[in-house]
């Protein structure tokens, strides 16, 4: 792999080697530019991935760690933030980022997602807005992401799906028992189930082997590279270009700004906690919807006393997260859901917000199982079951193979108060301000989640569950994995942070490309984040060639 000296001015410094950063690195390095990527987490390889539930779930093996990446939380700006008993926001923390350990749901947005404000005319208490781009602008890049990374699915199986220029490159993964039961039940109810599009290979593709159905997708890295993470796909291509250096264990604390209003690189802590300054002609932040705004807010200067590219005070605002409850059901015969990928069937019948429901919101519902053995034994039984002893042991023994879940993937409205900011009191082990999260769901989000949960219960009943129950505890929604909207994209510099090409309105050679750009929260965002990255890379490369950055 190419190595650069920090004092060497590279064309692009990319901060974050995750779902979007990996794509930016590959696209820009293969286009002929010199690229350094700083990743705060380690460089794990397939040999480092283990089927170890305790390490990956209890001990945050592949995600931000509550002690080393502390967060504080408050429900409202009038509250004082405290360190919560449970991690509130979660993100992937290694080369490849969340794309390494994600479940690999890979849904495109609908055409209507891009014009929700125009369609609805606004929702009181929410900053609903149209995107500055349309589905048609993004469609070529959705296709590029699916083709280049490798996605399994069935074009046309979802009658509500937006138009597409190409089918999925791979057929769907084999249906599991949960998918069969879900498909029967939803058809009985007049709904339209279809194979879940997954960024996991159902067949060998571009030098990688097919999924072996081991069952360790969510929270785990794939040992056989069947999951189409950026680690398994584009990052090796970037490295082979001879122009891209991935620097793991490199934690950026500040983006540097010159008196001419342009950024010149960034200061980071290396693995030995030494401060290093990497110089670059342009900086692209791909650090996820929580760390990107935090880094900008930490990058204060006399020109930007509120934080870099934050003249309008919107950096960190409008945080949106994954929403949607889970319902569980027990069936007569073994489903053995611990085998293979987490989800194989989904419906989009309730995706589009419908004024007749009396609130804003919608979402998909999928059939799945995302328990591992210890997690199931702790929390997988019905609420009226015993919690220990002989009877409990017998129920855990019987139910593990007979349980499935339905998860709603629901919309989340942007509220003014929901934000990422810097905690004034708590510091991380590097002495930097902890991330402070201010978040509460909009009342319509809550009504929507309850509406979807009622549909989930109907489906479980129609599927013939011997017993079904909803899990509606507040904790059941945590931690949130989709961190979106905090540096919103828009044409108006007064109401957005980046323009339609991800360039910050305030700094010409600073780009933000990740979940922070999203204007609305769309159930499953990874596919859209990656399509946006491909689109941004095209534009940025073209601008760089024309000396227009």
């Amino acid at each position: 792999m190419k190595q650069y000296r920090p004092d060497e001015e590279v064309d692009f410094l990319i901060i974050g080697a995750g779902a979007s950063g990996g794509i930016m690195a590959k696209e820009l390095s293969t286009a002929g530019f010199s690229v350094v990527v700083l990743e705060q987490g380690p460089y794990l390889r397939e040999k480092d991935f283990e089927h170890d539930e305790i390490k990956n779930t209890v001990l945050s093996g592949m995600t931000n760690h509550p002690a080393r990446q502390p967060q504080t939380y408050r429900a409202s700006e009038s509250d004082s933030a405290k360190i919560p008993g449970q991690k509130f926001l979660q993100y992937g923390r290694q080369v490849g980022g969340g794309s390494v350990h994600f479940t690999a749901n890979y849904w495109r947005l609908w055409e209507s997602d891009f014009q929700q404000k125009s369609k609805w005319g606004g929702v009181p208490g929410a900053a609903l807005a149209d995107w500055p781009i349309t589905y048609a602008d993004l469609e070529p890049y959705y296709t590029k992401a699916e083709q280049e990374l490798g996605v399994s699915g069935l074009a046309g199986a979802n009658p509500f799906e937006a138009w597409r220029s190409k089918p999925y490159p791979l057929p769907p993964l084999p249906v599991k028992s949960s998918g069969v039961l879900f498909e029967r039940a939803t058809r009985k109810l007049g709904l339209h189930p279809f194979p879940t599009p997954m960024a996991i290979l159902s067949q060998p593709y571009r030098g990688r082997g097919a999924c072996l159905h081991c069952g360790f997708c969510e929270y785990f890295g794939c040992e056989v590279r069947a999951k189409s993470s950026t680690l398994a796909t584009v990052i090796p291509v970037a490295e082979r270009s001879g122009r891209c250096e991935i620097r793991p264990d490199s934690y950026t604390r500040k983006i540097e700004l010159a008196s001419n209003g342009r950024v010149t690189g960034a200061v980071y802590f290396d693995a030995n906690r030494r401060e290093v300054v990497q110089r670059a002609k342009s900086v692209i932040v791909c650090a996820n919807g929580s760390e990107t705004p935090r880094l900008l807010l930490m990058s204060k200067s006399s020109q930007f006393p509120q934080g870099l590219a934050n003249r309008n005070g919107l950096v960190g605002r409008y945080l949106m997260v994954d929403a949607g409850y889970e319902a569980h059901g027990i069936f007569e015969h073994p489903l053995n859901e611990f085998k293979s990928v987490q989800a194989t069937r989904v419906i989009h019948d309730f995706y589009e917000p419908d004024p007749k429901r009396g609130f804003y919101g919608g979402g998909g519902i999928d059939a799945r199982f995302d328990f591992y053995p210890a997690g199931f034994a702790l929390a997988g039984l019905p609420p009226d079951a015993p919690r220990w002893g002989h009877e409990w042991k017998a129920m855990v023994g019987r139910n593990f193979t007979r349980t499935m879940s339905l998860l709603a993937h629901a919309t989340c409205l942007a509220r003014d108060e929901n934000s990422i900011s810097l905690d004034p009191n708590v510091k991380d082990p590097w002495g930097l301000p902890a991330m402070r999260v201010t978040f509460a769901f909009h009342p319509d989000d809550v009504r929507n989640m309850q509406f979807l949960l009622a549909r989930q219960m109907e489906i479980l009943e129609a599927a013939g569950a011997q017993k079904a129950w909803p899990d509606t505890s507040d904790d059941s929604l945590l931690p949130h994995n989709h961190l979106l909207g905090t540096c919103r994209m828009g044409d108006d510099p007064n109401t957005s942070v980046v323009d339609r090409h991800h360039r910050t309105h305030d700094v010409p050679n600073l780009f933000l490309v990740d979940g922070s750009s999203l204007v609305t929260a769309c159930c499953q965002p990874t596919c859209t984040i990656q399509a946006l990255a491909y689109r941004a890379a095209d534009y940025i490369a073209q601008q760089a060639r024309q000396n227009a950055i």
């Binding site: 539930e53 390490k55 209890v58 599991k176 702790l378 023994g397 193979t401 059941s476």
Partner: protein
Amino acid sequence: MPDDPITRRRWLAATPWAAVLAAHEHARQAARSSQPPPFTALTAGEAKEIEAIAAQMIPTDDTPGAREAGVIYFIDRALATFDHDTRALYTEGLKDLDARRTSLFPGSRSFAGLQPAGQVRLLKAIEKTDFFELVRTHTVLGFFGNPSYGGNRDRAGWKLIGFEDRFQFEPPFGYYDAESKR
């Protein structure tokens, strides 16, 4: 954290990462030895009491329970390494258990020495405490977690629930997808 109920996504406290590796190494060495490993975080007396509690939570019946699965060794290692922050709650919890035991069963000497019915009665009395919840969580993690942490011996936990840790499965996976292909 112990003062909160444990749900599926609510997990244990923060942990230094190196400690996990230490726990693994410890467990590997223990597995190689024919002697029962010595306890590190717990005294032998405490270990006996905790093991008896764990054995009521996951009792031995026609299949192995917490005792046979070596859950106590998992707990000791967790307290010595990645969950040492909760060690104090064990001391406090055992003290409280002692006090309740002597008042309920005057003349008794230990929890482990009580008749099973007495043990269950005492555990029901502390069911809502942080200590109980912590031991329950540790017991479950020890019984169903990866055997490299010292518990789940002979994969007792996984055999109970029908889980297999393999790198490869082939469809059909379960009854209903098999049935749909017939």
